[in-house]
C-alpha cells in the first residue's frame, strides 16, 4: 500500500530546505536553498517527478 500524504498546507510558510542540484547552464553541481530564494526575493516553482531516463 503506498503511503503518501499532503505534507504542507496552502498558505503556510514553507520550512527552509536545501537540495543538491545539477545546473546545466554552468555544467556543474550546485545547491538550491529556499532561504536563498527568499533573500533574493525570487519566486520558486518545484517540479517533482518520479525518475530520470523515463518518459511522460
Amino acid at each position: 500500500m503506498s503511503d503518501t500524504c499532503i505534507g504542507l498546507k496552502l498558505g503556510q510558510i514553507v520550512p527552509d530546505f536545501e537540495l543538491a542540484t545539477y545546473d546545466p547552464v554552468r555544467g556543474d553541481f550546485g545547491k538550491f536553498s529556499l532561504r536563498d530564494q527568499i533573500a533574493r526575493e525570487r519566486w520558486s516553482i518545484l517540479f517533482f517527478y518520479p525518475a530520470d531516463f523515463t518518459f511522460v
Binding site: 503518501t4 496552502l10 514553507v14 520550512p15 517540479f47
Partner: protein
Amino acid sequence: MGCDIVTVSTDTQFSHLAWQRSEKELANVRYQMGADPTGKVSRMFGVYDESTGLDLRGTFIINPEGKLLNMEMNFYNLGRNIDEMMRKFKANIYMSKKTNEVCPSKWKDEGDKTLVDPGAKMVGKVHEALNT
C-alpha cells in the same frame, strides 16, 4: 520574471547530469535539477511514495516570502501540462501586484478579465461582472 524553476526527483545529481547530457529532449534545459535521494524534501512536500522510493508528479508554487500558494499532484501515468503551470504562475504574480483582483477560470494572461474587489456587491452578480 524573478522566478526559479527546480525539477526534483529522488535520483542523485550525477544521474541528472548524465540524463541531461544524453537526452536530446533536455538539450535546452536551463533550470536547476534537484536531487533528493534520501526523500527528505519530497516527504515534506508530501510527494514521496514509500512503496516505490519515487516522487509523484507534484508541482508547487512558492512566493518570494516563502509562502506556498499553489500545489498540483498527479499520479505516475499522467503528465502535467506546462502551459497550465505557467498560467497559474502568471496569475499568482499578477495577483501579488493587484491584491484586490482575482483571476477567474478563463484567465490566461495579463490583460484578461479579472474580478475586481469581489465582495457583497458582486454576490449573485458574477455574470455581470465578467461580461461588462
